[in-house]
Amino acid sequence: MLRLLRRRLLQGVPLILGVIIMNFLLIQAAPGSFLDVMSAESQVSDPAMLEQLRVTYGMDQPVWLQLVKYIWSVARLDFGFSYRQNMPVLDVILASLPATLVLMLASLLIALLLGVTAGVVAAVKVNTIWDNLLSFLAVLFFAAPSFWLGIMLTVLFAVKLGWVPVGGMMSITASNQGIVATVLDVLHHLALPAMALGLFYAAVYARVMRAAMLEVLSLDFIRTARAKGLGRWRVVLAHGLRNALLPIVTLFGLQFGTVLGGSIVVETVFSWPGLGSLMLDSVSSRNYPVVLGVLVFSSIVVILVNIAVDLAYLRLDPRIRAR
């Protein structure tokens, strides 16, 4: 287990290096720089001053040297400096990270709970009205873009019914009401964005789970379990579920990255102060050190999650452990 962990971590290093190089070059290829935005916003037109800023941020050097310097600094956990927040990029990212993590975990939890349950029920009740209904809902949420779903959810639950706030992460007054009230307040704000983001993935999980479960339920050991006199749901949950969960675990790892990406849209719709909002804001202000930092940082997170998935596989399937 430790050997596998070490090997996977080592394999992650060239991967992260590749991610850095690609993103760095992509951003180099993009037109404009934050100096344009800065000079326009602060009415700076003195060429000498602009030139000095270029030197300060190292933009006068050749691209390859900038790249090498960037890689070297990332290796020391220095992602550069953000002119906009006037803080190191890492601090900016870490400030926005908790909000995004909360949103991601909540939506993945919703996705797993709803998706796995729906998939199992659809597989057990295959070709019945329940199966059809769940498949229809899955297609619906799969097809609905998350920004549209977010807006529709807002219109219904926030505007018409007034059950939840339309956006933000907490009320202005929440911070001085004690920890319990704050948590409840955040959860209250979290409900809609987590739904908007989670329902799409719930739909994906439901479809994969249904297929995996149907396959597992046709296997011989399920018949053995039934021949032991176990009830239908006991057979499904004790013998089917664990075998059918493997594809879901794979999917979870693969999708972690896209959930991060998806949160950009949802965070914007619900003005959720996380990495997604930060990313959008940084792109529009040409704040490339932050953009690059978020990209690199999230790829590191995705790689780590996939290593965790590999380890989870070991726990779930003894046949892999043996190899």
């Binding site: 011989d220 021949a227 032991k228 176990l230």
Partner: protein, 328 residues
């Protein structure tokens, strides 16, 4: 202990293409301590019969449409599913053809044995574990205590089948249904598994319904034989009588198609049965074997009844029972 008595069991497959008769009026009986071998080609309904007895038929499309499955005074065919749950694995158990895929790959074998003990015997964790180890020893697995925590992929096919047998006999069932229990195993292991089944039967007095297409296994194990063809029992009787004087042309064909193994058999050409088993959708009227039968005559367009030729020896064939062609 109660034996198993199947009476006139009929199962149909309700498909889009129509209703197919998978089993027609199958009657069998196995007494405690005795072994009935159910033989026939692939697709003749042997496994279907076993699954119908266990009420494990894939429903839909299959459904029992007539008949009784009597275990003592209880008709299993009429039992509601909730009560059937208490019968499966306790009064009637089953083992399957492929032991490697019949065990859950992600659960240690000990857990899989303990599960049935907890379900039917209300044993707690440690008592179930002790009993599971005893069962493994009973089925001839050495170092049982350590084996409990092994996963199925770490065991050989023979070992897996022993584990399956341990699960099946855990609650001392009255009837054990063994569906081709040795087909997927090496020849040397086959003999060991058959020996084990014999020994356990002698110890517990359970009735054994042994499904096989291997007539060697039949000769080794069975007291009685029922030969099935196209969803019907076509011949039934004591094993000696069937081997010595088979009545039905199909049984004769089966015996003729089996290598005898002795020196005499070496120069004799095996006699095959011409043609193949008809599909359920295209069963001929009357005797389903007639199109492949050398003795078929006009009477065979009607379904021959299963009639006793000698005491306890039944066959469903007009020719074998000496009904002349003009009688029908």
């Amino acid at each position: 202990m109660a034996g198993l008595d199947v009476r006139g069991l009929s199962v149909s497959l309700f498909t889009r293409g129509g209703v197919l008769p998978a089993l027609s009026e199958v009657s069998l009986s196995v007494q405690p301590g005795r072994t009935l071998a159910l033989v026939g080609e692939s697709g003749c309904g042997k496994s279907m019969t076993a699954l119908a007895i266990m009420r494990l038929l894939p429903e839909p499309p299959a459904r029992i449409i007539a008949g009784k499955v009597m275990l003592g005074d209880t008709d299993l065919a009429a039992l509601p599913e909730r009560r059937m749950l208490g019968v499966r694995g306790k009064a009637v158990s089953m083992i399957f053809q492929d032991p490697m895929s019949s065990l859950n790959p992600v659960v240690p074998v000990g857990q899989q044995i303990m599960e049935v003990l907890r379900r039917h015997e209300n044993l707690s964790g440690s008592a179930a574990r002790t009993r599971a180890a005893e069962l493994l020893t009973l089925v001839g697995i050495p170092d049982a205590e350590a084996r409990l925590d092994e996963y199925p992929h770490r065991l050989s096919g023979g070992m897996c089948q022993r584990v399956m047998i341990a699960i099946a006999i855990a609650c001392r069932p009255a009837v054990l249904v063994a569906d081709e229990p040795t087909t997927a195993l090496d020849v040397t292991v086959q003999a060991q598994i058959l020996e084990l089944l014999k020994r356990l039967q002698a110890e517990t007095g359970m009735a054994l319904l042994l499904i096989t297409h291997d007539l060697g296994v039949v000769a080794e194990m069975a007291d009685e034989v029922a030969v099935m063809y196209a969803g019907r029992v076509v011949e039934q009787g004591p094993v000696d009588a069937i081997f010595a004087a088979p009545l039905h042309p199909y049984t004769r064909g089966l015996l003729g198609a089996t290598p005898s193994g002795g020196t005499a058999g070496r120069h004799t050409r095996l006699a095959d049965i011409p043609g193949s088993v008809p599909s359920l959708a295209e069963l001929p009227a009357g005797c389903a074997f007639a199109p492949r039968c050398k003795l078929a005559h006009a009477a065979c367009t009607a379904q021959p009844p299963l009639k006793a030729e000698a005491p306890g020896h039944l066959a469903a064939c007009f020719a074998a029972l000496g009904v002349p062609a003009h009688a029908a």
